[in-house]
Symmetry: C2
Subunit: 320 residues, 2 copies
């Protein structure tokens, strides 16, 4: 399914390069290779899964439209993928999502429905209700095989690009919310680069995946908002993604919010890329938790770049 | 020479992707494709020319070392290229260059010699004196065939990538200082994509190349400093680069400093890349001078991303 998704994505998703800097290598004490999915269409890897899911629908179903719920990046990925297929898209977003993400999603042609996060229906309930009312196909952000397959195409690229860099063994660190990207990459590496091991990275206080990998069952976060790493905050790993991660991933890593912000500032200064805090936790782990990583080289996926200008400006000047 | 340089650069220089955003297309009124050379090693295209020149030296000459004078980006490009070849490098820099560029050049292993820009010897005289004293090979920033050949490899990539995007005709806008990159790209396009036309872009008040292309002779800027676009401020087009540009380039374009800063902010917001003001003038022309550009698509080379955090923070919040 991942290889089939890669064929459908060919010429539509961007093949992001692998970046590096001798300054980052020095901090980490090993070679650091960065996969900048912030450079993907819509500013995050989510376009891959969105395109994969929309392109996999039969034409009649697709014409009726799709619906997604998302704190922002999945929204934009699905919105653009739907627009490029000529399909309507309805996006359910929490009303405290960053304004840039709400604006972008609307500008990409989607109808945005805001919901109030703390009370009322869960976002899943809102999504299910609207999709059945209008005959839309719900595209879940991670617990959806075609979405996982699309995100997994990142792993096929990493396998090939790492080999070209002479890196055959080591850890691949992935910013992890529900686990769609992490499980997709893990399967792609299993097939194409068995010496590389996927490892999820999460912010402190939202380490449901790390704890789930330890306990062997699906663990839940106490809080579901209130992190600068909003893009990767989910209640728990998915029912489809968790068994994959459990079988294939190395132990999870956890970084502080400040470490994520320092990684944002270093990605600005040394790689010239814009990464949002949630998209920088894998790089933060590569740089600041070197003792928990194995191998001469580490690969970190920077998953998204949709950050408000004020927060980015504060971060790069504070940690300059 | 460009193709030979491309072979020497293979596996050393980064092949930067072509980026785009529907939001930028809407501003420009046509497709905008961006070649982000800010993602090149050392944060600018200058690494290509530096590597090309250092790698072309015979081993004995290279062992004695190289010397370069530069406001910063050429310095870093030569410093890293020399370090990776195991050759010593001396870099002559003006003492008002951005601190980040001075620091980076030193950290890349080069010996930095600062000179006082307004008075005293010209930087050319300083460079010539030190290189003859120590037996170093001077690598000029643009009027140097192997440097032009290295920068021209950007054009070979553009030709191939534009074709893959279905773009066979149109303008390729290039941030232009002395003309090394512009003349190199112009020759590469002549050979590989004759429907694409190179056009230099400069900041207002420093439009020596645009005026030279009109007059047919080498024109000079009145000022040689005092621009936020410091990276591309040179006294005049080169004696080698100007005849090439005169033969192959379309008319030059000129943008205001404010337009360059707005392009920096849009590249942050829409492309998730960090571009310095001088590296954004081509994108600024693509976005804000659409009436002076021909074709359904335009390609803009963002040439560098070595900008201080304070200036970048001010720019993205002011023009958000």
């Amino acid at each position: 399914m991942i290889r089939a998704a890669a064929q459908r994505l060919e010429g539509h998703a961007r093949r992001t390069p692998l970046l590096s800097s001798p300054f980052l290598d020095e901090i980490a004490g090993r070679r650091v290779l960065v996969k900048p999915e912030c450079l993907q269409h819509t500013g995050s890897f989510k376009f891959r899964g969105g395109w994969s899911a929309v392109s996999a629908l039969d034409p009649e179903t697709r014409k009726r439209g799709v619906i997604a719920f998302s704190s922002g990046n999945h929204a934009q990925g699905v919105a653009l993928a739907a627009a490029q297929h000529g399909a309507p898209a309805v996006i359910i977003m929490p009303n405290d999502a960053p304004q840039l993400k709400i604006d972008n999603t609307r500008a990409l042609g989607a109808e945005v429905v805001l919901y109030d996060r703390p009370g009322g229906e869960s976002r899943e309930a809102v999504g299910d209700r609207i999709s059945s009312e209008r005959g839309l196909t719900l595209i879940r952000p991670y617990d959806e095989p075609q979405v996982i397959a699309g995100q997994g195409t990142t792993g096929l690229e990493i396998a090939e690009q790492a080999r070209a860099e002479g890196v055959e063994t080591g850890d691949v660190l992935i910013c992890c919310g529900g686990g769609g990207l992490t499980s997709g990459i893990a399967m792609a590496l299993e097939a194409d680069a068995p010496g590389l091991r996927a490892r999820p990275v999460e912010p402190e206080g939202f380490d449901d995946v790390a704890r789930s990998l330890i306990s062997g069952g699906i663990e839940t976060n106490n809080r579901q908002s209130g992190s600068l790493c909003d893009a990767i905050i989910t209640p728990s790993p998915g029912e489809i993604t968790f068994p994959i991660m459990s079988r294939l991933c190395g132990p999870g890593l956890v970084v502080t919010e400040e470490e994520a912000l320092r990684a944002v500032a270093l990605a600005f200064k040394r790689l010239k890329i814009v990464v949002e805090p949630g998209g920088a936790v894998a790089l933060a782990a590569a740089l600041f938790h070197a003792d928990k990583i194995e191998g001469d080289a580490v690969i970190a996926v920077c998953t998204g770049g949709n950050v408000d200008a004020d927060l980015f400006a504060d971060t790069i000047t504070k940690y300059d």
